[in-house]
Symmetry: C2
Subunit: 149 residues, 2 copies
């Protein structure tokens, strides 16, 4: 049962992009999408509920059938997630996509703000790297001279 995969979505770590999708199809079941994206079925349903997906097709019995477009969107959402953008902002973006071209400006702004945040975060991380290296070197020194007096 795939439902029970933990998949610890570290909010700051990559989803394990498992299989690449086999081109030549355009209707995927939820478990296929799970395999392609590394998201859980729970998360996919939840994304739909909160409005983070464009309307997902259903089979005649009501089961979800995802398209290649949906997979592309999920790949993009995955990238946004990696930026650290809150899900609420992604939903806003998705809503703007649904509204059409009139929201181009606002979408660009949201993305630019995100871009600035990413740059700031990278700078922050590089700062911490300096501190980490400093400490690590201290421990290395301590090992090299374990009984200096």
């Amino acid at each position: 049962m795939i439902e029970s995969t933990p998949a610890r979505t570290d909010l700051c770590k990559a989803a394990p992009r498992a299989h690449p999708r086999p081109e030549g199809q355009d209707r995927y079941t939820i478990s296929e999408v799970v395999a392609f994206t590394g998201l859980t079925a729970h998360t996919l349903r939840w994304y739909e509920r909160i409005g983070l997906m464009p309307h997902v097709d259903r089979s005649h019995t009501g089961q979800r059938r995802f398209t290649n477009r949906d997979l592309d969107w999920l790949t993009f959402v995955g990238k946004l997630r990696l930026t650290g953008m809150p899900v609420a902002d992604m939903v806003t973006y998705a809503e703007m996509v649904r509204e059409g071209e009139s929201t181009f400006e606002a979408r660009a702004e949201l993305l630019q703000r995100t871009r600035r945040d990413v740059l700031a975060r990278i700078a922050e991380l590089q700062d911490t790297l300096a501190v980490l290296d400093h400490k690590i070197e201290f421990y290395a020194d301590a090992r090299r001279a374990p009984e200096r007096f």
Copy 2:
């Protein structure tokens, strides 16, 4: 009342290092530490409860009196927090510090693992930057040619 400051600690954003501490003192009240670190008093007490602080001194009436050493530690903890290290790992590190030199090896390892995580995260963010730039350029193009046919 300082207690009610929201201070939205974004887990991926810098604390607003407010005042630099005035050298020449070695016993600070909790509200002074709040001013120096940007953490809330709640968070400072919580850090102590979970074992993330070395034993904090108390006044004769039981109020906390933080030292410069405590402030240095909090600065370091702030850096670790920026790396995205989970609090549980920081507590582990703090415990090792309390154990003494016998844990130098393990501490270095933890820091090295963290360093690798930071490098990976930076790479990830740089990846998202490419996607973001691609999209932003698309919207810029759309603005430059608003009525192409």
